[in-house]
Amino acid sequence: MSSNLRTYIARRLILLVPTLIGMTVLVFAITQLFDPIERAALYITEPRQARFVKEIIAKYGLDRPVYIQYFNWITQVIQGNLGWSQSLHMKVLDALVTRFPATAELAIYSTPLIILFGIYLGKLSAIKRNTVIDHASRVVAIIGWSLPSFWLGIVLLAIFYGGMGVFPPGRLSEWAEALVRSGEFKLYTGLYTIDALINLNFSVFLDAIYHLVLPVITLTTINVALIMRVMRSSMLEQLNKMYITAARARGLDEKTVIDRHATRNALIPVITLSGLLAAGMLSGVVITETVFEFKGVGYFAAHAATQLDIPAVLGFALFAGILFILANLIVDILYAYIDPRIRLG
């Protein structure tokens, strides 16, 4: 890597620290709005435990001033201990690590689809501007974008799983879960599809895909419009540029002009957006994970937020922050790679 690229990356990573601190301060500020008893409610799941409220507050220091709580939390984090998630009854770090594969699997299969469909539809409707195809593809994309994700998910589930008994929720069917649990099936990445391929067990692989179909369809329909709109306007912009006329003047046929010149230039803004889309996937999957029983990081964070499981939400904030900065960094590097005019550093 060229030297200025390395300095650029270093500078961006240093930027990570203030953002992360900022995010955790934000979360702690929110905790300030809660009464210690409300935070103790997290530890009391049944009314018969309710009478121990005072002792629990004292034990977990829920009523200590916020800056002391923040200081304790930071010292813990530096030693790599993200604290205990009471909503999941396990270490926050373990929770994030064990839950991330589910979200990753959803993201890995839906993001490329979203980008590919988005680019294809965007290019198509730009080339055939103001024709029936243009309007049709835009309408399809906008429909996808306006559908409430939870409603779409549940209806899909009702039709396919309820009506026809296909595409059940969850990540694997029972027999596959048993196989995975039984230990013969070695888990490398936690992503069932990839692990199945490594273990050369195709029935588990097909079963995992079988469970992924509906959630991926839900996620894709919702996000395609985003990419499509940007691709369409960027494509239109390029088609009106002088170098396209020059390319045609050189005797290149329409297809080459479109594919080799217009599309390459039009992809630049799309790359930036897809980077942000991948980072934004975290809050996007919460609903899909809830409806389809995909116990991923989004579901865990949403659950923790509603139960005021502060250490969990803080752990999640760090995770989301790092992901956001990395996504932006990758997008910038991709940007510089594609568009030679931009020099990093």
């Binding site: 540029k241 002088m242 170098y243 006329t245 020059a246 390319a247 045609r248 003047a249 050189r250 005797g251 290149l252 046929d253 329409e254 080459t256 080799r260 010149h261 390459r264 230039n265 594609i338 568009d339 030679p340 005019r341």
Partner: protein
């Protein structure tokens, strides 16, 4: 609609070309019955204020009229290399591909905007060569392999020669298509072809007097200076030695010193390639220096055509007179043509110059003047003059 045939020594003839733009504000009559003709090896200067339809005419010659423009009337006769005459406006897309870049090519006003920012300069020149001179290049590659006696039986070379033969004999062979799809193999089978083309480009860039062509080939457009970029654009245009070169104000954006070099370069290339040139500009000085004959355009139509000396010495059309007088001369007061360029949505009736014309007569408002021959090779479209209409 006068479609007089093309005489032998004429390269291109534009007859009564009419182009309309259908925009929200109404129908813009950009080009109204414009007529031009260029002889072989001649440089025709087209002069006129901005908005007089110069660029639209130029682009229409390449059938690249920008949207939402549409050609309403007229035809463009062109004598191809095999001296057959065609009407460009009646060509279908496939036939046009054989002409653009090969028979007629174009240079643009902003060199920076005319080059794809994300493609290396070498790639953009290669495209032009591959589009038209593929056969020639493949044959050259085969020679190169023949010369390299020693690795006659190396597997890759045999594959490469096979590909070249296929390219020549039946390019639509299925196996060929598959090989081109596989990323790595596709490059290996064309190593020598790439070398040959690179060599060809280096020669071409040397012709354009570009120092250190090796570096320039692998550079990106934004890494070069304005003058250098324009030379690349010219190189692309002349890659397949076209019969007609259209230059749309190539030097306007360059500073004066570079402008002179480019003009000088274009002249020398004209001799070497023997192509005829249409040089569009609004700078009378440049026209005087480079063109053999000059056509003056105003508000979408050609108002006067004459050899350059004749035009400067004896301008007939009032607008041409105005133009020549408005060239600033040290010591004499500045003069300019009253009024502004007409709005082409509903242009003035009859002769479009009449609102600004000092010799305006009543009939100027009714009749649209046609080009008439006033003297040898001197035509003017003005009701002041009589003469039989040529073409």
């Amino acid at each position: 609609m006068s479609n007089k045939p093309l005489s032998l020594e004429e390269q291109l003839k534009v007859n009564d070309l009419t182009v309309r733009f259908y925009t929200y504000e109404g129908i813009v009559k950009a080009v109204e019955k414009a007529s031009l003709k260029i002889r072989k090896g001649e440089t025709l200067g087209i002069v006129g204020e901005t908005g007089s339809g110069k660029s639209v005419t130029a682009l229409t010659i390449l059938a690249l009229t920008p949207s939402p423009g549409r050609v309403e009337d007229g035809n463009i006769l062109f004598r191809k290399r095999d001296s057959s005459v065609i009407d460009i406006l009646r060509m279908n897309e496939h036939q046009l591909l054989q002409i653009r870049g090969k028979e007629i090519s174009m240079i643009f006003q902003e060199p920076n905007a005319a080059l794809d920012p994300v493609c290396k300069v070498g790639e953009q020149i290669t495209e032009a060569i591959l589009a038209h001179r593929l056969r020639e290049m493949v044959e050259k590659s085969i020679e190169v392999i023949k010369k390299e006696k020693d690795n006659e039986y190396d597997l890759w070379t045999r594959l490469e020669t096979w590909t070249y033969k296929e390219m020549l004999n039946n390019p639509s062979d299925v196996r060929l298509k598959i090989i081109q799809k596989i990323p790595i193999i596709r490059d290996i089978t064309k190593r020598r072809l790439r070398q040959v083309i690179r060599q060809e480009i280096v020669e071409l860039l040397k012709l354009m007097e570009i120092p250190d062509p090796g570096r320039v080939i692998d550079a990106y457009p934004h890494e070069l200076s304005g003058g250098m970029q324009q030379r690349i654009v010219i190189a692309i245009a002349l890659a397949c030695s076209p019969l007609l070169l259209i230059a749309d104000e190539p030097t306007t954006n360059l500073d004066v010193t570079v402008q002179a070099q480019i003009l000088d370069l274009i002249n020398r290339l004209k001799e070497k390639f023997g192509s005829s040139i249409i040089y569009i500009t609004h700078d009378m000085g440049v026209v005087a220096e480079i063109s053999d004959r000059v056509a003056v355009m105003y508000a979408g139509s050609v108002v006067e055509v004459a050899p350059v000396k004749e035009l400067f010495r004896n301008p007939l059309h009032p607008y041409t007179k105005g133009l020549l007088e408005s060239i600033p001369r040290p010591g004499s007061p500045l003069k300019s043509i009253p009024g502004t360029v007409p709005n082409l949505v509903d242009p003035p009736s009859g002769c479009r110059f009449h609102p600004r014309c000092a010799y305006m007569m009543n009939k100027c408002k009714e009749i649209m003047p046609r080009l008439v021959k006033v003297s040898e090779d001197h035509y003017v479209a003005c009701l002041l003059y009589e003469g039989e209409s040529d073409d």
